[in-house]
Every structure is written in structure tokens, then in C-alpha cells.
């Protein structure tokens, strides 16, 4: 996508362009192409664990 949008050589993109800049340019290309983007979410496992541990703990002995 970056090569198509910029015309830069492949070896420049692979070996010279810092990855974080490549990602920033890719984000710009996605945005200008109308895509919606969000900051990456935590892994599904981490989200599930977070949801489960946020429930209040009920002590059965109190019933």
C-alpha cells in the first residue's frame, strides 16, 4: 500500500523506512481511503479475564 501511494522503492520501504513511520503513513492512507481506525484493543483473552474479574465476588456462606 505504501509503495503504491508514494512510489518509493521496495528496498527503501523494507530496509530504511522506520517501521513506526511506515505504520503512520499506512494509517494516513487508510484514513484518506475512508477506512475507520481505532487504537488496538487488548487481546480477547485479556478482555475476557478483565470482564470476569470485575464481577463482585459473592460469598455463599452469607446466604
Amino acid at each position: 500500500m505504501i509503495a503504491e501511494k508514494t512510489g518509493w522503492r521496495e528496498d527503501f520501504i523494507l530496509w530504511e523506512l522506520p517501521l513506526h513511520r511506515a505504520l503512520a503513513y499506512q494509517h494516513c492512507a487508510l484514513w484518506s481511503g475512508g477506512a475507520w481506525t481505532v487504537e488496538p484493543q487488548a487481546t480477547p483473552e485479556a478482555q475476557l479475564y478483565s470482564s470476569l474479574t470485575s464481577f463482585p465476588i459473592i460469598d455463599d456462606e452469607d446466604e
Binding site: 530496509w15 517501521l19 513506526h20 503512520a24 475512508g34 475507520w36 488496538p40 484493543q41
Partner: protein
């Protein structure tokens, strides 16, 4: 910790104890993946992670002559390990902590620029998620 995206985006290549680290690029990221560097691949739960070795792999890939790096990374895991071990003798032990900070900065800069694409499903721009 509050991130400073523009600061990380514009930081020049550092020089540490005579070593100039080339930037982390899509090519060097692919090499790190190929050699199973634990900074960019999922940790093996059966194996204790060796962060110093991973840092030496990173330093070799980003500071040794590029053609040498490509050749040994392509040859075999043993050839790569031997080359990293030989190269590590030229790295000053006192420089390793600074190099690890630089590795962390590179990975943070990449993480800060990573985004997920959200499907639009023929929705209008007014339905876009926040900060999209």
C-alpha cells in the same frame, strides 16, 4: 505513562558506545520474526525467556553490516547464533542497558502507531468510532 507520539516519530537513529543502531524497519522486523526473537514473537511457555540474548540478536540485526545479517539469518539458525555470538564480543557490556532502553523505545514507537481497522458496513461518517 503518557506517550508522546510525535517525539517517538521523529527521534533520530541513536549512537551508543560507538554502535549506530539502524531503525527497526519492516525488513528487520521480519528478520527478528524469522529468528524467533522473543521481543516480537509470542513467548514459549516451556522456555525461560533470555532477554539478554534477545537484545544481542536485536543489536546484531540492527548494527552489523546488512548483507552479513541477511546471509546468516537465511543460512541456518546455527549460523545465525554463531554470528550473533561472535558479534556480541564487540559490544561493550556497559552499553547493553542503554541499548535495551533504545530497543524498548523502538517497540513503543511501533506500538503507538499501530491501529485496528473497523468495518464500516455502509455506515455514514457520523457513525465513526471516536478518534477514528
Amino acid at each position: 505513562m503518557k506517550s508522546d507520539r510525535s517525539k517517538n516519530l521523529l527521534t533520530p537513529a541513536p549512537q551508543i558506545s560507538g554502535l549506530t543502531l539502524r531503525p527497526l524497519t519492516s525488513g528487520t522486523y521480519a528478520l527478528l520474526n524469522r529468528v524467533g526473537n522473543i521481543f516480537v514473537t509470542p513467548a514459549n511457555p516451556d522456555q525461560k525467556p533470555d532477554h539478554i540474548w534477545a537484545a544481542l540478536e536485536w543489536i546484531f540485526i540492527h548494527s552489523a553490516p546488512p548483507q552479513d545479517v541477511l546471509r546468516v539469518a537465511h543460512d541456518s539458525p546455527e549460523a545465525f547464533k554463531s554470528a550473533v555470538f561472535a558479534y556480541s564480543e564487540s559490544v561493550a557490556v556497559s552499553a547493553v542497558p542503554k541499548l535495551i532502553v533504545e530497543i524498548e523505545r523502538s517497540l513503543t514507537a511501533v506500538h503507538e502507531q499501530t491501529v485496528d481497522v473497523v468495518p464500516r458496513h455502509d455506515s455514514d461518517d457520523k457513525d465513526a468510532p471516536p478518534n477514528s
